[in-house]
Protein backbone atom coordinates (compact mmCIF):
# COMPACT_ATOMS: atom_id res chain seq x y z
CA UNK A 1 0.00 0.00 0.00
CA UNK A 2 1.38 3.30 -0.96
CA UNK A 3 0.88 6.29 1.25
CA UNK A 4 0.32 8.49 -1.81
CA UNK A 5 -3.36 7.52 -2.13
CA UNK A 6 -4.29 8.41 1.42
CA UNK A 7 -7.16 10.81 1.85
CA UNK A 8 -7.09 12.98 4.89
CA UNK A 9 -9.64 12.25 7.58
CA UNK A 10 -9.61 11.90 11.33
CA UNK A 11 -8.19 8.37 11.20
CA UNK A 12 -5.42 9.01 8.74
CA UNK A 13 -4.65 12.26 10.48
CA UNK A 14 -3.50 10.32 13.50
CA UNK A 15 -1.77 7.84 11.22
CA UNK A 16 0.06 10.68 9.59
CA UNK A 17 1.32 11.86 12.95
CA UNK A 18 2.45 8.33 13.73
CA UNK A 19 4.30 8.01 10.45
CA UNK A 20 5.98 11.35 10.95
CA UNK A 21 6.94 10.38 14.48
CA UNK A 22 8.43 7.15 13.21
CA UNK A 23 10.36 8.82 10.44
CA UNK A 24 11.59 11.54 12.72
CA UNK A 25 12.99 9.12 15.22
CA UNK A 26 14.75 6.81 12.79
CA UNK A 27 16.52 8.98 10.26
CA UNK A 28 19.37 6.80 9.17
CA UNK A 29 22.18 8.74 7.57
CA UNK A 30 24.12 7.55 4.56
CA UNK A 31 27.85 7.73 4.99
CA UNK A 32 29.06 10.54 2.81
CA UNK A 33 32.05 12.02 4.54
CA UNK A 34 34.22 13.83 2.04
CA UNK A 35 36.64 15.92 4.09
CA UNK A 36 37.33 17.29 7.53
CA UNK A 37 33.62 17.80 8.26
CA UNK A 38 33.35 14.02 8.33
CA UNK A 39 35.47 13.98 11.47
CA UNK A 40 32.95 16.21 13.22
CA UNK A 41 30.21 13.97 11.87
CA UNK A 42 31.97 10.96 13.38
CA UNK A 43 32.43 12.84 16.64
CA UNK A 44 28.73 13.57 16.67
CA UNK A 45 28.02 9.90 16.32
CA UNK A 46 30.44 8.94 19.08
CA UNK A 47 29.89 8.77 22.81
CA UNK A 48 30.21 12.43 23.76
CA UNK A 49 27.33 13.54 21.58
CA UNK A 50 25.69 10.23 20.76
CA UNK A 51 23.49 10.47 17.69
CA UNK A 52 21.65 7.36 18.83
CA UNK A 53 19.68 9.67 21.12
CA UNK A 54 17.94 10.71 17.89
CA UNK A 55 17.72 7.16 16.57
CA UNK A 56 20.34 7.75 13.91
CA UNK A 57 23.44 6.03 15.17
CA UNK A 58 23.51 3.69 12.19
CA UNK A 59 25.52 5.28 9.41
CA UNK A 60 24.50 3.12 6.49
CA UNK A 61 27.14 2.28 3.95
CA UNK A 62 24.39 1.40 1.50
CA UNK A 63 22.15 4.18 0.20
CA UNK A 64 19.20 1.81 -0.08
CA UNK A 65 18.82 1.71 3.68
CA UNK A 66 19.47 5.37 4.27
CA UNK A 67 17.03 8.26 4.66
CA UNK A 68 19.39 11.16 5.09
CA UNK A 69 22.52 12.14 3.24
CA UNK A 70 24.87 14.31 5.28
CA UNK A 71 27.17 15.80 2.68
CA UNK A 72 30.15 16.44 4.91
CA UNK A 73 32.92 18.21 3.10
CA UNK A 74 33.87 19.74 -0.22
CA UNK A 75 32.41 18.13 -3.31
CA UNK A 76 34.79 18.07 -6.22
CA UNK A 77 33.57 18.11 -9.80
CA UNK A 78 34.58 14.47 -10.09
CA UNK A 79 32.66 13.51 -6.97
CA UNK A 80 29.47 15.28 -7.99
CA UNK A 81 28.11 12.51 -10.28
CA UNK A 82 28.85 9.94 -7.59
CA UNK A 83 27.03 12.05 -5.03
CA UNK A 84 24.04 12.35 -7.32
CA UNK A 85 24.04 8.61 -7.95
CA UNK A 86 24.08 7.85 -4.25
CA UNK A 87 21.25 10.29 -3.77
CA UNK A 88 19.24 8.71 -6.58
CA UNK A 89 19.74 5.28 -5.07
CA UNK A 90 18.24 6.32 -1.77
CA UNK A 91 14.54 5.56 -1.43
CA UNK A 92 11.92 8.17 -0.69
CA UNK A 93 11.48 9.82 1.69
CA UNK A 94 15.02 11.19 1.71
CA UNK A 95 16.62 14.31 3.01
CA UNK A 96 19.92 16.06 2.55
CA UNK A 97 21.90 18.07 5.05
CA UNK A 98 24.64 20.18 3.55
CA UNK A 99 27.21 20.15 6.32
CA UNK A 100 29.79 22.89 6.38
CA UNK A 101 30.49 25.84 4.16
CA UNK A 102 32.36 23.84 1.53
CA UNK A 103 29.36 21.67 0.81
CA UNK A 104 27.00 24.60 1.05
CA UNK A 105 28.78 27.10 -1.15
CA UNK A 106 32.29 25.98 -1.88
CA UNK A 107 33.49 28.01 1.07
CA UNK A 108 37.03 29.20 0.73
CA UNK A 109 37.67 26.81 -2.17
CA UNK A 110 36.51 29.15 -4.86
CA UNK A 111 38.18 27.34 -7.74
CA UNK A 112 37.54 25.14 -10.74
CA UNK A 113 37.79 21.85 -8.90
CA UNK A 114 35.09 22.29 -6.28
CA UNK A 115 31.35 22.39 -6.84
CA UNK A 116 30.20 25.76 -5.55
CA UNK A 117 27.32 24.48 -3.48
CA UNK A 118 26.07 20.93 -3.37
CA UNK A 119 22.55 22.18 -4.00
CA UNK A 120 23.54 22.41 -7.64
CA UNK A 121 23.62 18.62 -7.61
CA UNK A 122 21.05 17.47 -5.06
CA UNK A 123 18.19 19.31 -3.34
CA UNK A 124 19.32 20.38 0.10
CA UNK A 125 16.92 20.59 3.03
CA UNK A 126 19.09 22.00 5.79
CA UNK A 127 22.31 23.97 5.53
CA UNK A 128 24.71 23.71 8.41
CA UNK A 129 27.20 26.60 8.60
CA UNK A 130 30.69 26.52 10.02
CA UNK A 131 34.09 25.32 9.00
CA UNK A 132 33.61 22.68 10.19
CA UNK A 133 30.30 22.78 12.04
CA UNK A 134 30.72 21.55 15.56
CA UNK A 135 28.74 18.58 16.81
CA UNK A 136 26.19 20.94 18.33
CA UNK A 137 25.76 22.73 15.02
CA UNK A 138 25.22 19.44 13.23
CA UNK A 139 22.76 18.35 15.90
CA UNK A 140 20.98 21.67 15.56
CA UNK A 141 20.56 21.09 11.84
CA UNK A 142 19.37 17.55 12.54
CA UNK A 143 16.79 18.93 14.95
CA UNK A 144 15.79 21.47 12.32
CA UNK A 145 15.33 18.58 9.93
CA UNK A 146 13.19 16.80 12.52
CA UNK A 147 11.06 19.91 12.69
CA UNK A 148 10.74 19.89 8.91
CA UNK A 149 9.65 16.26 8.96
CA UNK A 150 7.18 17.05 11.71
CA UNK A 151 5.56 19.94 9.88
CA UNK A 152 5.93 18.59 6.34
CA UNK A 153 3.91 16.20 4.19
CA UNK A 154 4.31 12.48 4.58
CA UNK A 155 3.68 11.74 0.91
CA UNK A 156 6.12 12.34 -1.90
CA UNK A 157 8.18 15.40 -1.44
CA UNK A 158 9.51 15.47 -4.97
CA UNK A 159 7.13 15.65 -7.88
CA UNK A 160 6.95 12.92 -10.52
CA UNK A 161 8.65 15.10 -13.05
CA UNK A 162 11.66 15.41 -10.81
CA UNK A 163 10.84 19.01 -10.07
CA UNK A 164 12.17 20.11 -6.74
CA UNK A 165 15.51 18.47 -7.37
CA UNK A 166 16.88 21.27 -9.49
CA UNK A 167 19.20 24.15 -8.96
CA UNK A 168 18.45 26.25 -5.95
CA UNK A 169 18.49 29.35 -8.11
CA UNK A 170 15.51 28.23 -10.18
CA UNK A 171 13.40 26.74 -7.48
CA UNK A 172 13.72 28.05 -3.96
CA UNK A 173 11.44 25.41 -2.52
CA UNK A 174 8.85 25.75 0.20
CA UNK A 175 9.64 28.13 2.98
CA UNK A 176 9.39 26.34 6.29
CA UNK A 177 9.13 28.35 9.45
CA UNK A 178 11.39 26.56 11.85
CA UNK A 179 12.19 27.85 15.29
CA UNK A 180 14.79 26.59 17.65
CA UNK A 181 13.86 23.00 18.50
CA UNK A 182 14.10 21.89 22.07
Amino acid sequence: MGLEDLQHNFLTGSLEELVKWGRRNSVWPATFGLACCALEMMATGAAHFDLSRFGMEIFRASPRQADLMIVAGRVSQKMAPVLRQVYDQMVEPKWVISMGVCASSGGMFNNYAIVQGVDQVVPVDVYSPGCPPGPETLMHSILTLHEMIKTGEITRRREETGRGAELHLDHPGPKVAVGTPR
Binding site: H48, R53, V101, G107, V126, P129, E136, K175
Partner: protein, 218 residues
Protein backbone atom coordinates in the same frame (compact mmCIF):
# COMPACT_ATOMS: atom_id res chain seq x y z
CA UNK B 1 38.76 -18.14 30.38
CA UNK B 2 39.54 -15.99 27.35
CA UNK B 3 35.88 -15.98 26.50
CA UNK B 4 34.94 -13.83 29.50
CA UNK B 5 37.71 -11.27 29.08
CA UNK B 6 35.58 -9.26 26.70
CA UNK B 7 32.74 -9.14 29.22
CA UNK B 8 35.19 -7.95 31.83
CA UNK B 9 35.91 -4.88 29.70
CA UNK B 10 32.22 -4.23 29.30
CA UNK B 11 31.44 -4.63 32.98
CA UNK B 12 34.27 -2.32 33.99
CA UNK B 13 32.74 0.42 31.83
CA UNK B 14 29.17 0.02 33.04
CA UNK B 15 29.55 1.86 36.31
CA UNK B 16 31.53 4.80 34.97
CA UNK B 17 29.77 8.15 34.70
CA UNK B 18 28.22 9.02 31.36
CA UNK B 19 30.23 11.30 29.12
CA UNK B 20 27.37 12.21 26.79
CA UNK B 21 26.36 15.87 26.67
CA UNK B 22 22.63 15.79 25.86
CA UNK B 23 22.79 18.75 23.52
CA UNK B 24 19.25 20.09 23.17
CA UNK B 25 19.03 20.17 26.96
CA UNK B 26 22.53 21.37 27.74
CA UNK B 27 25.27 23.08 25.82
CA UNK B 28 28.93 22.59 26.40
CA UNK B 29 30.68 25.67 27.75
CA UNK B 30 32.63 27.34 25.00
CA UNK B 31 36.28 28.36 25.23
CA UNK B 32 36.84 32.05 25.88
CA UNK B 33 38.14 32.77 22.40
CA UNK B 34 35.70 30.60 20.50
CA UNK B 35 34.78 31.92 17.06
CA UNK B 36 31.06 31.97 16.46
CA UNK B 37 28.53 34.22 14.79
CA UNK B 38 29.70 37.82 14.34
CA UNK B 39 28.28 40.91 15.91
CA UNK B 40 28.77 44.54 14.96
CA UNK B 41 29.52 46.46 18.11
CA UNK B 42 28.63 49.96 19.20
CA UNK B 43 30.29 52.47 21.49
CA UNK B 44 28.95 53.09 24.94
CA UNK B 45 27.02 56.13 23.69
CA UNK B 46 25.27 53.97 21.09
CA UNK B 47 27.29 55.07 18.04
CA UNK B 48 28.26 52.32 15.64
CA UNK B 49 31.90 51.36 15.57
CA UNK B 50 31.98 50.34 11.92
CA UNK B 51 33.43 53.02 9.66
CA UNK B 52 32.89 51.18 6.39
CA UNK B 53 36.57 50.82 5.54
CA UNK B 54 36.10 47.35 3.99
CA UNK B 55 39.30 45.98 5.53
CA UNK B 56 37.36 42.98 6.82
CA UNK B 57 36.04 42.29 3.33
CA UNK B 58 39.53 42.63 1.94
CA UNK B 59 41.14 40.22 4.36
CA UNK B 60 38.41 37.58 4.26
CA UNK B 61 39.85 34.43 2.68
CA UNK B 62 36.41 33.05 1.89
CA UNK B 63 35.10 36.32 0.44
CA UNK B 64 32.01 36.14 2.59
CA UNK B 65 31.80 39.78 3.71
CA UNK B 66 30.30 42.53 1.62
CA UNK B 67 30.67 46.09 2.89
CA UNK B 68 29.82 49.41 1.38
CA UNK B 69 30.61 52.59 3.25
CA UNK B 70 28.73 55.85 3.01
CA UNK B 71 29.30 59.35 4.32
CA UNK B 72 27.76 60.03 7.68
CA UNK B 73 24.72 62.28 7.51
CA UNK B 74 25.88 65.52 9.21
CA UNK B 75 22.76 66.03 11.30
CA UNK B 76 22.48 62.47 12.63
CA UNK B 77 25.79 60.66 12.33
CA UNK B 78 25.75 56.87 12.65
CA UNK B 79 29.40 56.47 13.59
CA UNK B 80 31.89 58.90 15.15
CA UNK B 81 34.07 59.02 12.05
CA UNK B 82 33.56 60.40 8.61
CA UNK B 83 31.92 57.34 7.16
CA UNK B 84 29.89 54.40 8.36
CA UNK B 85 29.06 50.92 7.15
CA UNK B 86 26.03 51.51 4.96
CA UNK B 87 25.76 47.92 3.75
CA UNK B 88 27.21 45.11 5.80
CA UNK B 89 26.51 41.53 4.84
CA UNK B 90 28.08 38.26 5.92
CA UNK B 91 27.26 35.05 4.14
CA UNK B 92 27.39 32.28 6.73
CA UNK B 93 27.46 29.65 4.04
CA UNK B 94 30.90 31.00 3.15
CA UNK B 95 32.30 32.20 6.47
CA UNK B 96 34.94 29.89 7.91
CA UNK B 97 35.15 31.75 11.27
CA UNK B 98 38.88 32.38 10.95
CA UNK B 99 38.60 35.67 12.87
CA UNK B 100 40.77 37.54 10.37
CA UNK B 101 38.08 40.18 9.96
CA UNK B 102 38.13 40.75 13.70
CA UNK B 103 41.89 41.16 13.64
CA UNK B 104 41.76 43.50 10.66
CA UNK B 105 39.13 45.83 12.04
CA UNK B 106 40.74 49.14 13.10
CA UNK B 107 37.85 50.13 15.37
CA UNK B 108 37.01 46.80 17.01
CA UNK B 109 33.64 47.02 15.29
CA UNK B 110 33.27 43.37 14.33
CA UNK B 111 33.80 40.61 16.85
CA UNK B 112 32.66 37.04 17.07
CA UNK B 113 30.15 35.83 19.63
CA UNK B 114 30.13 32.34 21.09
CA UNK B 115 26.97 31.33 19.25
CA UNK B 116 27.62 28.44 16.92
CA UNK B 117 24.35 26.49 17.06
CA UNK B 118 22.45 27.63 14.00
CA UNK B 119 21.30 26.15 10.73
CA UNK B 120 19.29 27.30 7.75
CA UNK B 121 16.54 25.84 5.66
CA UNK B 122 16.95 28.52 3.04
CA UNK B 123 20.10 29.94 1.51
CA UNK B 124 18.84 33.48 1.76
CA UNK B 125 18.57 33.19 5.54
CA UNK B 126 22.31 32.59 5.71
CA UNK B 127 23.16 36.09 4.50
CA UNK B 128 23.10 38.23 7.61
CA UNK B 129 22.55 41.90 6.96
CA UNK B 130 23.67 44.85 9.03
CA UNK B 131 20.36 44.93 10.89
CA UNK B 132 20.84 41.37 12.09
CA UNK B 133 24.52 41.69 12.95
CA UNK B 134 24.33 44.97 14.83
CA UNK B 135 23.90 44.73 18.58
CA UNK B 136 20.67 46.01 20.08
CA UNK B 137 20.22 49.02 22.34
CA UNK B 138 21.51 47.08 25.34
CA UNK B 139 24.64 46.09 23.46
CA UNK B 140 23.59 42.45 23.26
CA UNK B 141 23.50 40.42 20.03
CA UNK B 142 20.18 40.16 18.24
CA UNK B 143 18.81 36.65 18.40
CA UNK B 144 17.44 35.19 15.20
CA UNK B 145 14.73 32.52 15.39
CA UNK B 146 16.98 29.88 13.81
CA UNK B 147 19.73 30.39 16.34
CA UNK B 148 19.94 28.56 19.64
CA UNK B 149 20.80 31.20 22.22
CA UNK B 150 20.91 30.18 25.85
CA UNK B 151 21.14 32.46 28.86
CA UNK B 152 24.71 33.67 29.26
CA UNK B 153 25.72 32.96 25.67
CA UNK B 154 26.19 36.63 24.90
CA UNK B 155 29.08 36.85 27.36
CA UNK B 156 32.60 37.26 26.04
CA UNK B 157 31.41 38.72 22.77
CA UNK B 158 33.18 42.04 22.91
CA UNK B 159 36.22 43.57 21.29
CA UNK B 160 38.29 42.48 24.23
CA UNK B 161 38.36 39.00 22.73
CA UNK B 162 40.69 40.06 19.94
CA UNK B 163 44.16 38.60 19.95
CA UNK B 164 45.93 41.73 18.77
CA UNK B 165 46.04 45.27 19.99
CA UNK B 166 43.68 47.78 18.40
CA UNK B 167 46.58 50.04 17.48
CA UNK B 168 48.52 47.18 15.95
CA UNK B 169 51.54 47.54 18.24
CA UNK B 170 53.60 44.39 18.43
CA UNK B 171 54.30 44.78 22.13
CA UNK B 172 50.68 44.78 23.13
CA UNK B 173 51.29 42.17 25.80
CA UNK B 174 52.25 44.73 28.36
CA UNK B 175 49.47 47.20 27.91
CA UNK B 176 46.01 47.03 26.45
CA UNK B 177 43.76 49.89 25.41
CA UNK B 178 40.36 48.56 24.56
CA UNK B 179 37.66 51.04 23.78
CA UNK B 180 34.47 51.01 25.78
CA UNK B 181 31.55 49.08 24.45
CA UNK B 182 27.80 49.27 24.74
CA UNK B 183 26.59 46.58 27.10
CA UNK B 184 30.03 45.48 28.24
CA UNK B 185 31.82 48.69 29.16
CA UNK B 186 35.58 48.66 29.34
CA UNK B 187 37.09 45.25 29.76
CA UNK B 188 39.84 44.61 32.32
CA UNK B 189 43.32 43.65 31.16
CA UNK B 190 44.18 39.99 31.11
CA UNK B 191 46.70 38.25 33.28
CA UNK B 192 50.09 39.88 32.88
CA UNK B 193 48.74 43.00 31.23
CA UNK B 194 48.22 46.51 32.47
CA UNK B 195 46.16 49.43 31.32
CA UNK B 196 46.04 53.21 31.57
CA UNK B 197 42.29 53.19 31.77
CA UNK B 198 41.20 53.51 35.42
CA UNK B 199 37.76 52.07 34.65
CA UNK B 200 39.28 48.90 33.31
CA UNK B 201 41.86 48.63 36.06
CA UNK B 202 39.13 48.77 38.69
CA UNK B 203 37.51 45.62 37.36
CA UNK B 204 38.67 42.37 38.84
CA UNK B 205 39.79 40.02 36.05
CA UNK B 206 38.71 37.02 38.07
CA UNK B 207 35.09 38.00 37.53
CA UNK B 208 35.36 37.14 33.86
CA UNK B 209 33.35 34.05 33.21
CA UNK B 210 34.05 31.26 30.81
CA UNK B 211 36.24 28.25 31.07
CA UNK B 212 39.87 27.90 30.14
CA UNK B 213 40.92 25.85 27.17
CA UNK B 214 42.96 23.38 29.17
CA UNK B 215 39.94 22.12 31.06
CA UNK B 216 39.21 18.65 29.81
CA UNK B 217 35.76 17.74 28.65
CA UNK B 218 33.97 14.95 30.40
Amino acid sequence: MGFFDGFKVTMSQVFRPRVTVPYPKFKRPKPLRFHGRHVLNRYEDGMEKCIGCELCAGVCPARCIYVRGADNPPDSPVSPGERYGFVYEINYLRCIHCDLCVEACPTEAITESKLFEFSFTDRSDAIYTRDELLVDDQGMPKKQPWEDWRPGDERNTSAWMRATSPNGAAGYEGKVAWSGELGFGVRPPEHGQSTDNPAAAATDPSTIEGHEDEVTHG
